[in-house]
Amino acid sequence: MSRIIERVRQALNVQANDGRDRLVFAKSEEFINCAHATVTDEERGGWMESIRREAQALNLQVHECPDLDACGEAIAALARERDPEWGTLKRIVRWSDPLLDELGLEGRLGEDIPVTTVPMADSFGESERAEFRREVIASYIGITTADYLLADTASLVLLGGRGRARSVSLVPSIHVAVVPGSRMLGSYRQMLSRLNGQTLPSNVNIITGPSKTADIEATLVHGAHGPREMHLFVVAS
């Protein structure tokens, strides 16, 4: 056992764990149960309104789409309209996810704006990783989906893992996230409750709007080191 833990035990005047872990890791009933709290359609409507309201202050642009086809079209239009922040070539990188496949972006944008999908493999060698890294750095738009959309703060919850590279929502200047409305949850607490008891991936990111800073005279500025623009597409069906 480490010296420090021994010192901590001396400081606390305890001998060993002696069953305290049950107390320390105990959870409230209410927390466990809120994972699957049922919601009415009316509540859901209220959630969407809350997201719109929060997003405004965050400079997060919310687009509501009837289906994935309309969503794909809107994203393609956005891609044509925006200019890259670094360099002149337009490239897009996106998560590998069945939902994003259905946007049909590759077809819509053709050869003008190549779309790279995060590669899937059981393991990656050094050169493959370097290659992917170059790809992400060269992209002006990164597209992801999200596992949850939190109503009270307009936050996206991105669980990492296979096909869901961390840098896609971070390095490109524009982050686009596509989320079905059915993935809305009421609160941060409810999301934690859903994750409770699961083995979490090596990286979870909860993202609330584009990157910002207030370090110069407490003045709010968007676009510090992460994406300076962020678009949330909520898909109805």
């Binding site: 992917f132 703060t153 994750l195 090596s202 990111n205 207030a214 110069i216 005279e217 510090a224």
Partner: protein, 481 residues
Amino acid sequence: MLNQDPLKYRELAAKAVEDKQLHRALAKMRDKVGRNAVNLYNQLSPGHDPRQDAKAVRRKIVDNLDVVLETLSANIRARGGHVHLAETGEDAVEYCLGVARRFEVSRVVKGKSMLSEEIHLNDALEAAGIETVETDLGEYIVQLKGEAPSHIIAPAIHYTREQVGELFAEKLDQPYTDDPPTLTAMARKALREKMLTADMGISGGNTACAETGHVTIVSNEGNIRMATTMPRVHVVLLGIEKIAATLEDHDILLRMLTRAAAGQKISTYVSYVGGPRLPDEPDGPEEFHLVLVDNGRSRILADPDFREVLHCVRCGGCLNVCPVYMAIGGHSYGSPYCGPIGAVFTPLTRGINTCHHLCQGETLCGACKQVCPVDNDLPRMLSLLRSKLADGDRRWDVRRQSLPTKLVFGAWSVIMRHRRMYDALSVMARFGQRLLPRKNGWIRRLPGPLGGWTRGRDFPPLAQESFADRWARRDKTGRGA
């Protein structure tokens, strides 16, 4: 690093009190963030004080720290991360240098870590020939300036936009501007290059989740995500006390932290980082190291009177409401932990005698307790430190600070208890005070050892007739005198 000496408190504070520009800069922080925090607490659950919930969670963790530390270490290791428990700052620094050497690191990018300031990590890295770049905009500004941060969460808050403009014009070779968006864009460009090419990322952590084996880091800028995603190795520095047990703990702690720190419901990025990339992930660090640092914390833990200070979540909220901080700025405290929290934490880790000015400088007005998201009773602990300085304390190796003070107060207490002595002395004093210099009716300078009291303020003269005499007169005439 400059301004890192708590011994210079009086000198630095005296200078800062005169600094109008500093006050203008600090007032912005107070007005924008201080008030917001309290409003946001109230929104959480009307009628119920959520700070008490947060306090209960922090107490549970600190009181069972051994269990939480063991679980966290085991779970991080199970996820493929390395864990090192460092007894001292030097030990932690050595460990970081060792990792850097193994990876042949030539450039490190860092994200906001107070702990790395506490242990002087940047100096050690630079001395080892490793370029060390702060990536948080505020920290980048103070680093370019060759200074230390002056606020826990807004390190460059003591600068005005004009000063930042001049700094960037000089160091980044850019045309002068004082427009915050343009200045931010300049830093974005300069730092992106660094973040994409560094070999090692070092970050602090806001908390960790023992149960799942993750470190939790919040940021608004995204610099922390960059520093923890792009380099080949990620090292996290965390004080041993800054852990949470469960995801449920995270709920209240993170919500309170972001409200108190920046008046936000949630930060832009909340990241749960649990070890290196897995084989099927194309990005993320190859190695992940968690360094848990004691550096005097277990000693605080052992004293039930001060244990509460370890509940602190380092939100910086107490700074924004502290009249002393607002008057003297963060640098006067000579330590990365400034303001009321620093005035308690720094003496406890660096020596109560050495840092006595820090706890004696605060006003005990109680504003810090009121705003603290975990309801830390800093005023109580400040008083306790002062009483130890007055009486001496073996456990904390406190030498009685001033024998004359103690003697004067001892004598005063004897006089107060003996009526005749008191009366005789007050008659003498009433005559004696005629010889003292006055200004607007107040005494400018007291004689002898009492002179210290009037160095910074005037003293009210004794009335020509004592209250007791007046009262006696009133009794005789039956009317007020």
